[in-house]
């Protein structure tokens, strides 16, 4: 493998870091690890890695705090959230803070490496669960018509998200929709951007709405 992105692991559990590090092997270069928010920000600023694998819950803060602090310090890096949590609040908040994707810790190591490379190249990574949240958040049935185009998904984007939620890989989606993988990636990135910029009520008050449903 020619391209070896540099990676920083942020997780408060030593065992998880050790496990992820072992799984990644030499397919990426892990340059540093951190166990809490302050340590993480320092290490990321210092090493400026291609990708930060970020846990959503940390002692003394959240993954979103780390992203905000690093962006504040003007460091260019990509964040991939890696967490056991599957609560929509956690996922949406870390994505809105600027993470390029979200995968659960149950992910297989090949897929994790592929996701890291994808994020390092500036693309978005959607686990089926995240895609499900996105469809839920952008579904129009429960809310007033959207005014802004970042507040709704195009039919094609929705189609891509639904296939992702059904467990399809980018490659399989491309074949099924007879488009190139690059186009699938473009759609995914567009959805990510909307996820981050949208002013939709659902995304801002996710937790509140979930309680009504």
């Amino acid at each position: 493998m020619s391209y070896q992105p540099t990676v920083v692991l942020v997780d408060d559990h030593d065992l998880v870091r050790a496990g992820v590090r072992a799984e990644l092997g030499d397919r990426v270069r892990v340059v540093a690890e951190a166990a809490d928010v302050v340590e993480a920000v320092d290490v990321i600023v210092e090493t400026a890695p291609d990708v930060v694998l970020l846990d959503v819950h940390l002692p003394s803060g959240t993954g979103a705090d780390v992203i905000a602090a690093v962006v504040d310090r003007g460091v260019e890096t990509s964040f991939l959230a890696l967490s056991v949590s599957d609560s929509p609040d956690d996922v949406i908040s870390v994505i809105r803070a600027g993470a390029r994707g979200y995968v659960t810790k149950a992910i297989k190591s090949d897929e994790l490496v592929a996701s890291i490379i994808r994020v390092a190249e500036g693309d978005a990574v959607f686990s089926p669960r995240l895609a499900g949240f996105v469809i839920d958040a952008f579904s129009s049935s429960l809310s007033e018509p959207a005014h802004d185009d970042v507040d709704q998904l195009s039919p094609r984007e929705k189609e891509v998200m639904r296939l992702l939620a059904r467990g399809y890989a980018y490659k399989e989606i491309a074949r099924r929709l007879s488009i190139s993988i690059k186009t699938v990636e473009t759609h995914a990135s567009a959805v990510l951007r909307k996820l981050q910029l949208s002013s939709r009520h659902e995304l801002q008050n996710w937790a509140a709405r979930r309680r009504i449903v």
Binding site: S87, R166, G167
Partner: protein, 405 residues
């Protein structure tokens, strides 16, 4: 005064009195002396007040005795207090001891009168102020076991605040020239400062203790709930895992089930869905298939609705499809996607296993496909099975709008 209410003298010989913390008004000096003397503390207190009236000596003596007793108490061991080098016997009866004490006080008073005291206009306000401060601060700090909200304590604190304020006013009035010119302003200011100074630590403590108490209660409630839950679930599972440690598949299943349970518990929204909603039922299907066949089943759901008859059929077909995938596909994982939308309910069951030729179907497969298709048709829905060798399998189940309430 009745004989029985007078404390006994305890030891027959004189010892150094101890500060009577439990019976004190100020520092416990008078009560301590009273206890050692075998007198009601009130007499000792009267003695101090008399001496205080004689030019302020009472306060000086009180302070000195306080320091002495405190110092002696710190160096003494239990039951071994300081005693004079020569053993001096105490008076035999309470009245004799009281008479002795009264004579002593009278003598000291006469002595004080001869020597002359401190100027009265300074002694009185300072004395009262000092007592007020001492009592207030004593009550505020230290003894946490006494309930600080008891009415008696409130009374003591508020009374002392008033006394101290009056004392400051009197002191200021006593200073020449204050009474006329800027007097009133200074008076008011003095009173405010005295009140604030005295009450600040008390308010602070009051607020702090109330917060601490509330937090502690919330914490202990939460802890009890978590403990109960962990005992029911996680500890049970750990025990089971220890028993089944020879069987990796059983361990995996137990771990997965425990994970699901914990997630449900952590997300109350999920737990409330169980049994009554499509989403809850799908979670249950996933759990049972995982347990029976040892293949992880991931459920992604968008929207939710209540289960009625057609939806029940849909769930039955979903279960068939999931079991089928777990048994035959050889896939490492099965994905279920549910979407409840305006125009119907859709469920996709997908695996990336070995797949099969959809037109070459053995008896077993045929049966399962038949039951899936027939079920969906009876419920007014559709089922589509997509598969090819090496491509995995996807079963698509759909209920239209007319069946979606």
């Amino acid at each position: 005064m009745e004989e029985r209410s007078i404390p006994s003298a305890g030891q027959p010989y004189w010892q150094m009195p101890e500060l009577a913390e439990d019976d004190r008004l100020i520092g416990g000096v008078a009560a301590g002396i009273g206890r050692e003397l075998g007198l009601e503390p009130i007499w000792v207190r009267i003695g101090f007040v008399v001496l205080f009236a004689m030019g302020g000596w009472g306060a000086l003596l009180y302070g000195a005795a306080w320091a002495l007793f405190a110092l002696a108490g710190r160096h003494s061991t239990p039951g071994g207090r300081a005693a004079p080098a020569e053993r001096i016997a105490k008076g035999k009866t309470a009245s004799a001891r009281l008479a002795g004490f009264a004579v002593t006080v009278a003598g000291l008073a006469i002595l004080a009168g001869r020597i002359g005291g401190f100027p009265a206009e300074v002694v009185w306000p300072l004395g009262v102020l000092g007592v007020g401060l001492l009592v207030a601060w004593q009550r505020l700090s230290g003894d946490t076991d006494e309930d600080w909200r008891s009415p008696r304590r409130w009374l003591v604190v508020v009374g002392n605040l008033l006394v101290a304020t009056v004392a400051v006013i009197v002191l200021l009035l006593g200073i020449e020239g204050v009474a006329d010119a800027a007097g009133s302003v200074l008076l008011a200011l003095g009173a405010v400062v005295a009140m604030a100074g005295l009450s600040a630590p008390w308010w602070w403590r009051l607020v702090r203790e109330r917060d601490a108490e509330r937090q502690a209660r919330a914490r202990s409630d939460e802890r009890a709930e978590v403990a109960a839950h962990l005992h029911d679930s996680v500890l049970q599972t750990l025990t089971l895992i220890q028993r089944n440690s020879a069987d990796p598949q059983a361990m995996l299943n137990l771990a997965r089930r425990q994970e699901r349970e914990l997630r449900n518990w952590l997300d109350p929204n999920r737990a409330s869905r169980h049994g009554e909603s499509v989403r809850g039922c799908l979670d249950e299907i996933a759990t049972t298939v995982e347990e029976l066949h040892g293949v992880p089943v991931e459920v992604v759901a968008v929207g939710d609705c209540l289960v009625d008859e057609p939806v029940d059929a849909l769930l039955g077909a979903t279960r068939e499809a999931t079991v089928n995938a777990a048994k035959h596909s050889g896939a490492e994982q099965i994905d279920i996607y549910l979407e409840v939308g305006e125009d119907g309910i859709e469920v996709y069951v997908r695996d990336t296993g070995k797949g099969f030729e959809t037109d070459v179907i053995d008896e077993d497969r045929h049966g399962i496909r038949h039951s899936i298709l027939a079920r969906m048709e009876r419920a007014g829905g559709t089922a589509v099975v997509t598969s090819a060798p090496g491509e995995g399998t996807e079963v698509e189940l759909r209920l239209g709008q007319e069946t979606n309430r």
